[in-house]
Amino acid sequence: DQQVKQNSPSLSVQEGRISILNCDYTNSMFDYFLWYKKYPAEGPTFLISISSIKDKNEDGRFTVFLNKSAKHLSLHIVPSQPGDSAVYFCAATAAANAGKSTFGDGTTLTVKP
């Protein structure tokens, strides 16, 4: 049973437009949600996170929204830039589970110039 799901394997947007990446989860015990970005042949890098007690967190062009009742979170990138083209992973962490993170399968974002 996959506890964190990213149902869109890929997303393509035009430069300057908004990119919206989605993530669904099933475990209500998750305390934190994190987004990571990964370029080819590199390790993932942290992008932004949100606590389960918040519904929004913003950092520059990146905003994460959390809807606990729907068990859904989304990452908004505005405006999208070609350098944002990468694989984006959603991850969820439960403090009661020794901080182990569960990752989604990732969404490949392509931003076209």
Partner: protein
């Protein structure tokens, strides 16, 4: 950049041979993790450590063992490599994951078992 290095970066080995991957950190973070990444599967946790000599299994631990004798080093061993263990392996470190702190990842090790 967080001080985390993996070695080797690439390795080709034969089925049935033992293989050890090393993760070294200079950040003094308590938590260390080994993940594997396969197409269509995202990142799956193999083993993790929450302190020296304190380790536990992740979701795909069969065929793997780990050791952590020092804070800075976390070793992943494939006792007898199989073709299904061909993958990209990532080590990660984190200070306080239970409080939402992020993980820092190494560059990855591409392992091919032939």
């Amino acid at each position: 950049d967080a001080g985390i290095t993996q070695s080797p970066r690439h390795k080709v080995t034969e089925t049935g041979t033992p293989v050890t991957l090393r993760c070294h950190q200079t950040e003094n973070h308590r938590y260390m993790y080994w993940y594997r990444q396969d197409p269509g599967h995202g990142l799956r946790l193999i083993h993790y450590s929450y302190g020296v000599k304190d380790t536990d299994k992740g979701e795909v631990s069969d065929g793997y063992s780990v050791s952590r004798s020092k804070t800075e080093d976390f070793l992943l061993t494939l006792e007898s490599a199989t073709s299904s263990q061909t993958s990209v392996y990532f080590c990660a470190i984190s200070a306080s994951p239970g409080q939402g702190t992020e993980a820092f990842f190494g560059q990855g090790t591409r392992l091919t078992v032939v």
